[in-house]
């Protein structure tokens, strides 16, 4: 079992989350060329080692997270909210 330290909920089993995928992928503009869309939709680095990826805490706070995880050892280096500044905004509203 992988344990992910959700910045909102604390450390939880990975079965509370769903795996999003490679977080380094950036979709191009809607009117970008077919080659650019092909690259974003179909092509993958498929790293063996430390990968930056997205996870969705679907059975928890429902926040999207960015996780640095080793795809060989499953060691997690860092977890942060996918949307920058979101944690701060939630703090300020409190």
């Amino acid at each position: 079992m992988i344990r992910i330290k959700c910045p909102f909920c604390g450390e939880r089993d990975h079965s509370e989350f769903t795996y999003g995928g490679d977080a380094s992928i950036v979709y191009p503009a809607l009117d970008a060329t077919a080659e650019e869309w092909h690259e974003a939709v179909f092509m993958r680095e498929n790293i063996r080692g430390m990968q930056t990826e997205t996870w969705h805490h679907v059975n928890g706070c429902r926040m999207w997270l960015i996780v640095q995880r080793d795809t060989m050892t499953h060691e997690i280096r860092s977890v942060r909210p996918a949307h920058e500044g979101l944690a701060g905004v939630l703090e300020d509203d409190r």
């Binding site: 990975h14 769903t18 179909f42 993958r44 498929n46 990968q51 795809t71 499953h74």
Partner: protein, 421 residues
């Protein structure tokens, strides 16, 4: 090389079993070969065998980082079937099944291929309609297909949960020529067959780099020295992306995911067929090995991973599916479970193709389908390497199909590798 036949079994039986040769040699790598295949798994060994047998090429090395058949060859559930619907897949897997039917004779090695029928359970009229459409399409390729009603199913497979299942069973879609084979025997049979033709199978020989000159591969660098090659083929599903990076070819439409499988303690004969259960979020397939163990599996682990070990939530999911469809397994103990890392491709279909490098060829992206594809994969990959052009059957098994708008997406799941179960 001693043939395996009744006479030799008898002769060796009365002479102390001293007349058997090694099944394959353990050669030192030569300086160079005409063809170097990377990966002595099922597909790599089959490729070498058909290169020698069908195309008369003998100067071949198959290099393997561990021992032959030690990767996904030993980490699957050994199901063989050809009930595919999409153009491309249909012809390919039917050809594979036909090769399976004669494989033991062809290899002079009993691969224990057992055509015990593959039974997909149906739970709703909509599922039955979809199966009817699929199975009618399969008939276009002369792939026999049947739809069983509940009475037939109860007679043939009496132990299923017919009484109080959450999703009541209403019938089954059946491919009677499908079945299973013994995974190790397939690896050993192809290795022995290739070795008889003079193919060097070099184990404990990890590829660490790929040397190139003028846009061509000239040699593979290995832990046992450099090996020159006029042509190189990759057949390393699970680790394709790593080798791809050694050739500096960038990205691939592949992610590496792991899939678990399980075997129970041995039981008396209980299940004569391969049974598949898939409805809603459940996905489960089971058969009984000749040793009596129930061999079964389900979904992959849902996140990308190169680790050859499975996670516990999937053990629970699969166990739940097992007891919901075969409640009689409730007290059966698990003997072992294992996990293999697979190339999951963007449409769930494989690649057997040329690459941007002139004399480099790729065999990859086997998803859940690698074991059953073994003979045809070797057959067409050998044909591709020998003739330097794809056979029309595999013309869409190339890396460029997505940019042409061709998706061989059997499940209709879209470009998310983990969903192509």
């Amino acid at each position: 090389m001693t043939r395996y036949n009744a006479w030799n079994v008898l002769k060796n039986g009365i002479t102390g079993q001293k007349g058997w040769d090694r099944a394959w040699r353990d050669p030192q790598p030569k300086d160079s070969y005409e063809i170097v295949i990377v990966g002595a798994g099922l597909h790599g060994l089959a490729t070498a065998f058909y290169l020698a047998k069908n195309h008369g090429i003998r100067n071949i090395a198959v290099v393997e980082k561990g021992w032959l058949g030690g990767g996904n060859a030993g980490r699957n559930t050994t199901i063989v079937r050809s009930n595919y619907m999409m153009p491309g897949n249909r012809f390919f897997y039917e050809h594979s099944l036909k090769l399976w039917e004669n494989l033991s004779h062809e290899l002079n090695f009993n691969v224990m291929f057992s055509q015990r029928a593959h039974i997909s359970l149906l739970h709703s009229p909509a599922a039955r309609d979809a199966a009817a459409r699929r199975y009618n399409t399969m008939r276009l390729t002369d792939t026999g297909a049947e739809l069983w009603d509940l009475e037939t199913l109860k007679r043939e497979v009496p132990h299923l949960n017919y009484d109080n299942a959450r999703f009541p069973i209403i019938g089954a879609a059946v491919q009677s020529r499908a079945g299973s084979a013994r995974h190790d025997a397939v690896a050993w049979g192809y290795a022995r067959g290739a070795d008889q033709y003079g193919v060097d199978i070099i184990q404990n020989c990890e590829v660490t780099g790929v040397r190139r000159e003028n846009g061509r591969v000239t040699a593979v660098e290995t832990t046992r020295g450099d090996i020159g090659a006029a042509k190189v083929g990759f057949a390393v599903a699970g680790n394709t992306s790593r080798l791809w990076r050694m050739v500096e070819l960038g990205k691939l439409p592949i992610e590496t995911h792991k899939l678990q499988a399980f075997v129970s303690e041995p039981l008396k004969p209980l299940l004569d067929q391969v049974v598949v259960f898939g409805v809603g979020g459940a996905h489960f397939y089971i058969s009984q090995s000749d040793k009596g163990g129930m061999v079964f599996g389900g979904d992959l682990d849902w996140y990308k991973s190169y680790a050859q070990r499975g996670n516990l939530p999937i053990v629970q999911d699969v166990a739940e599916a097992a007891t919901s469809i075969l409640p009689c397994l409730g007290r059966v103990r698990l003997l072992r479970h294992w996990s293999g890392v697979m190339d999951m491709s963007m449409d769930g279909s494989p690649f057997i193709c040329k690459t941007p490098v002139e004399n480099l060829y790729l065999n990859a992206g086997w998803n859940y389908g690698g074991f059953k594809a073994t003979p045809a994969s070797g057959w067409y990959f050998a044909d591709l390497i020998a003739n330097d052009r794809p056979d029309p059957v595999i013309e869409n098994f190339d890396l460029g199909r997505f940019s042409r708008g061709v998706n061989i997406d059997e499940r209709g799941a879209g470009p998310d590798p983990k969903l192509h179960g």
